[in-house]
């Protein structure tokens, strides 16, 4: 970064809860509000000092377009502070973070609240196009007769919904859904079911062991008289035998199962970021700073390999190699996909996804990137480490990599 380093002051997140469970009733804007509100409360930051709020969200709630603005206003950020929602699929949380860094570099503000929010529970079911057209005709009909006529065109099959979540996870260009891209990597890399399940098992075990550490980054969600304080993805009763018993869900003879894929999850993350100079002025002690980052494109059908290209591009920018990192995160979209990355970019096991990953904790797509930044900075602090590399594969054929540092 040029003049002033871009630093992370603090962050917090809601618990990550499997879709349809504890957080299912809360839309993305509400999850985001809770995270931003908790961040403001714990830092004591005057919200009037914020220059912009930037949030990532993949499936924006239809009733809260530009969800970042809704989050900001509901969380008590003054009306005069602008807000923008960014979207780079699974890297949307990264995108919010790096957009703020670019704003700072361009002299467009020095204090930002960034993050990501996703309610995968609330991704809507849609009507088929034909059905929608029939509804339109009905609303346009004025007389009772024409209404009746319009109604008579409806068939039972019209009410079979298109599942938004499924559509969102299917690549429109190559036509494969995300699980199928993982199957492709498994086939091409000869990645066995056993290896995938072992990786999934490791993710759960690490996440379970890290519960107390992860709790430090969680702000409780209060709903219905209860405090929701824990991630509910990690399974203490997960065994290799249970994983081995699951059926492949994308290909009949494939190896990708619900157990070795990331979970479909609700959650939100908020980070307070600013220029180092501003941090000194305001008396904040940063958690860490941004060193470099890169996004790179790749074959949409092999989107899981994205981190390889992004890490390579970042290396060209800052000269850092994975071996320079004390901690590395490769987001666990699928075990097969992470293993495929590792075939080309070897990373020592004790440095990789040390507190578990999305297979255990879940992958609320718009929020995950911001969680990786928060988790790895906190872990870096705990270990007294210097550098962390965090990376994601991105639906649509992209990769993202961010280098973070701590002094």
């Amino acid at each position: 970064m040029p003049e002033s380093r871009f630093v992370v002051i603090d962050g917090c997140r809601t618990p990550f809860c499997r879709a349809g469970t504890d957080l299912a009733a809360l839309a993305a804007d509400e999850l985001g509000r809770i995270a931003v509100d908790a961040l403001l409360t714990r830092t004591g930051l005057d919200p009037a000092l914020v220059d912009e709020v930037i949030f990532g969200c993949v499936a924006q709630p239809i009733e809260a377009a530009n969800v970042a603005r809704v989050i900001a206003l509901r969380a008590g950020i003054p009306e005069s502070v602008p807000a923008v929602t960014v979207h780079r699929n699974c890297a949307s949380g990264f995108e919010a973070f790096t957009t703020a860094a670019e704003r700072l570099a361009a002299g467009r503000g020095s204090v930002f609240i960034v993050g990501g929010a996703e309610s995968m529970s609330q991704i809507p079911l849609l009507f088929q196009e034909d059905t929608a057209r029939k509804f339109l005709t009905l609303t346009k009909s004025k007389s009772a007769g024409s209404k009746l006529a319009a109604l008579s065109h409806f068939r039972l099959a019209d009410f079979i919904p298109r599942i938004g979540l499924k559509l969102g996870l299917t690549d429109p260009v190559c036509g494969l859904n995300m699980g199928e891209t993982a199957e492709l990597l498994a086939r091409e890399g000869s990645i066995t079911r056993v290896a995938q399940d072992a990786f999934a098992q490791r993710s759960h075990e690490r996440a379970v062991a890290a519960e107390a550490r992860l709790a430090e980054e969680i702000c409780p969600v209060y709903a219905g008289g209860h405090a929701i304080t824990r991630d509910n993805g990690p399974r203490t009763d997960q065994t290799p035998a249970v994983l081995a018993g699951l059926r492949p869900i994308f290909e009949k003879y494939g190896s990708v199962t619900a157990g070795n894929s990331s979970q479909v999850t609700d959650g939100a993350v908020a980070l307070l970021v600013m220029s180092e100079q501003r941090a000194v002025e305001l008396g904040f002690k940063p958690l860490g700073a941004l060193t470099a980052y890169a996004y790179a494109g790749c074959d949409p059908a092999r989107m899981g390999l994205g981190p390889i290209f992004a890490i390579d591009r970042a290396a060209k920018r800052c000269g850092l190699m994975p071996s320079d990192a004390d901690l590395v995160e490769v987001n666990e979209a699928f075990a097969a996909q992470v293993l495929a990355v590792l075939q080309r970019v070897p990373i020592p096991d004790e440095k990789l996804n040390v507190n578990g990953g999305a297979i255990a904790l879940g992958h609320p797509v718009g929020a995950t990137g911001a969680r990786l930044i928060l988790s790895s900075l906190r872990e870096l602090t705990r270990r007294g480490g210097h550098r962390a590399l965090v990376s994601l594969c991105v639906g649509g054929g992209q990769g993202a990599a961010i280098w973070l540092e701590r002094r």
Binding site: T41, R42, P220, Y222, G225, H226, A227, T229
Partner: protein
């Protein structure tokens, strides 16, 4: 006649507009001059053969017409008043009788006479703004709507709804008013006149052609017996205005001719005005108005209004305070020591908002926005940005002192530090911090959302600016503050306690719970004292009694029955049993077992209800006199207003000191002295009362 209160204009389209705009005033009110002016204007409009319609408006920012000028009415002789009432009826009658359609375009408060003038129009449109309120609150002042309101409202919305509105003196905002039919349409303020002109096209209101449809039979047979029974049960004959309003509404609706109905209104108000009850209710109204605006002369409340507050303690009180503040636009941190407690507090807040939406106090949208203004915190968080911290933790001095000690490190020098304690010393608590001058008591009553009174407790070390800032804050959040010097029990609980312990003592000495409670209900209290102890909890009541008896051992003690109840686990409603047995549906019946706890030492001869009530009321008067004599508050009005607003002390009696005046100090002292000789030293009259008895003085000299 000088025409200065109302502007009359005629548009080229034949539409006349009357704009109320009282000079040099933020409010429009009806006084004699304004009524005469209105009458003259209406005559001019009536004479215009080409007129198409008439629109009534106000030029004021937040008031349509606020009703009659009470200050003037208060000073009127009975004769003047009769003329004044008749004048109003005549002028509003002129308005109702116009052959052209008429519309009231209401922005701001249209209350009492202000709504009656709108009722005399054919149609009513109103702005959705928060300041827009309509209704007939006269019964709250011991009066009835007598400018046609009692007659015209039932014809507009039906007898049952009109009774509900008039007897309770409700003044709903635009949305609920539209729902009730009090107004016909809600339109933005800027479009009021356009909308009014559009309503003119509908012509005269169809029902205004006939005064009475055959409502009389319906009213007499179906409604009247019910309502009479209900009103009698609720008012116990203590509120003649409510009864007269009821008769005026039902009787008026049953009359075939409007003139007869209006005559009834006039007669009823004539009988009410000048009664002691009405006088007391009007005085209380002025005391409340004074509390809304009062300030310490020459002391600044600070430049900035309080916008951010932290509430420490998410129990019923803390959550209630947080909800109230957030609903009034403040951002609030609600902090407690663990997520479970915070969750319970947030659930309480959520419940209050849900109930508010159900009662149409908020839209869903407003409720959500209010709820979002509360930031929960389950750990210590920086409070440097807070303008105010209100501690509402458990009533233990060491717990509170610890909290205040910690606050030194996390708040700014500007932060006002308040405690919601109802019993502990502010001065002692203040000593735990490095900034005792910024520590103050802000004592809300339970339930926060419905209790208007807030005691602002000034400790010995509290800076006057802080007292001023706290009072301004309480006023701004729509509560009524009373400034009280730090002293055990402050004001309201201190005066209430001798009354409650006396009730317990009378029970202990043989009086039944029902007799004791009924005696005070007959006196005019909203709830009997033993049921109140059940509500508060015997443990809490005993705590307060212990604190106060330590401070005032010569007059106060813990009645023996309370430890008995506590030992038996009969803590009151929360335990299902106390003086009464409470069931899940909030019904109650006497707890016969409680009678077995009587020590049986001193049985009293059975006392009549009047005698029971008298003893309990005398003790409240006596303690109120002590508080005044000790200078806890500035004036007798502070005591009376606080007791009525904070405890529901029989409003028509004007408060304990006003009631003392009506009995006369000599009689009060005489009876207290006699009781002191017969039944115990705690009846010993306060020296101030004794002196007043000797000099023949009153608490209120005007």
């Amino acid at each position: 006649m000088t025409m200065q209160n109302i502007r009359l204009e005629r548009g080229d389209d034949g539409v006349w507009t009357l704009t109320f705009d009282r000079p040099n005033s933020a409010a429009n009110v009806f006084d004699r001059a304004t009524l005469e002016e209105l009458g003259a204007h209406l005559a001019a409009v009536a004479a215009d053969a080409a007129a198409r319609g008439l629109v009534l408006m106000s030029a004021k920012d937040s008031i349509f017409v606020a009703g009659v000028d009470l200050r003037v009415v208060r000073q009127m002789s009975a004769g003047d008043l009769a003329v004044f009432i008749e004048l109003g009826q005549t002028v509003f009658g002129q308005l109702a009788a116009l052959r052209i359609p008429t519309v009231a375009a209401i922005h701001g408060a249209a209350l009492g006479g202000g709504y009656e003038v709108a009722l005399a129009c054919d149609w009513r449109v109103a702005s959705p703004d928060a300041c827009t309120k309509v209704g007939l609150p006269e019964t709250k002042l011991g009066l009835i709507p007598a400018w046609g309101g009692s007659t015209r409202l039932p014809h507009l919305i039906g007898v049952p709804k009109a009774l509900d509105l008039i007897l309770a003196g409700k003044t709903p905002g635009a949305r609920p008013a539209r729902k009730l039919g009090l107004i016909d349409e809600i339109v933005p303020r800027e479009h009021l006149r356009t909308a009014a002109v559009a309503w003119l096209a509908r012509g005269k209101h169809p029902r205004s052609l006939v005064h009475s449809a055959p409502m009389n039979a319906v009213v007499d047979l179906a409604i009247a017996p019910h309502v009479r029974r209900d009103v009698e049960a609720k008012t116990r004959g203590l509120y003649p205005a409510v009864q007269k309003a009821m008769e005026a509404v039902m009787g008026g609706a049953a009359k075939w001719h409007e003139v007869d109905a209006l005559k009834r209104e006039r007669e009823a108000i004539g009988e009410l005005i000048g009664t002691e009850s009405t006088r007391n209710l009007v005085s209380l109204f002025f005391l409340q108005e004074r509390a809304k605006h009062r300030a310490l002369p020459g002391v600044s409340a600070g430049e900035r209004a309080i916008a951010c507050a932290a509430v420490i303690g998410a129990g019923v009180m803390g959550a209630g305070i947080a909800q109230w503040l957030s609903a009034r636009g403040l951002r609030v941190i609600l902090r407690d020591i663990d997520p479970t407690r915070v969750a319970a507090g947030m659930a309480t807040v959520g419940g209050l908002y849900t109930a508010g939406v159900r009662r149409r106090l908020f839209t869903e949208h407003e409720a959500r926005a209010g709820f979002s203004r509360i930031s929960p915190a389950a750990t210590e968080v920086p409070l440097r940005r807070m303008d105010l911290v209100i501690e509402a933790a458990v009533e233990k001095m060491d717990v509170k002192q610890n909290i205040f000690r910690r606050l030194d490190d996390i708040v700014s020098d500007e932060t006002l530090l308040a405690t919601n304690t109802s019993a502990l010393s502010i001065t002692e608590l203040a000593a735990a911090t490095k900034r005792p001058e910024r520590v103050i008591g802000i004592h809300f009553f339970n339930p926060v959302h419905s209790m208007q009174l807030v005691e602002v407790i000034v400790g010995r070390s509290t800076a006057p600016e802080c007292a001023q800032r706290a009072r301004r804050f309480v006023q701004r959040i729509g509560k009524l503050p009373v400034l009280v010097k730090d002293s055990p029990g402050f004001l309201v609980n201190r005066i209430l306690l001798p009354y409650l312990t006396e009730a317990a003592r009378l029970f202990e000495r043989g009086a039944s719970a029902i007799e004791v409670d009924e005696a005070m209900l007959d006196f005019g209290m909203p709830m009997g004292p033993l049921r109140l102890i059940d509500e508060v909890g015997a443990d809490i009541a005993a705590d307060v009694a212990a604190t106060l008896s330590a401070a005032f051992p010569e007059r106060m003690s813990v009645p023996a029955i309370l430890p008995g109840l506590i030992a038996a686990g009969w803590l009151g409603r929360k335990a299902g049993k106390g003086f009464y047995v409470h069931d899940a549906k909030d019904a109650w019946k006497p707890n016969d077992d409680a009678a077995n706890l009587r020590t049986g030492a001193q049985q009293v001869v059975p006392l009549s209800r009047e005698a029971l009530a008298h003893r309990m009321a005398l003790l409240m008067i006596n303690e109120a006199a002590h508080c005044l004599a000790e200078g806890l508050v500035e004036a007798p009005g502070d005591v009376d207003f606080a007791m009525v607003t904070g405890t529901g002390f029989a409003p028509f009696r004007g408060g304990p000191l006003c009631y003392a005046d009506s009995l006369g100090a000599r009689r009060v002292v005489g009876e207290l002295s006699r009781l002191a000789e017969q039944s115990g030293a705690h009846y010993q009259p306060c020296p101030l009362l004794v002196e007043m008895a000797q000099t023949g003085k009153h608490f209120y000299e005007d």
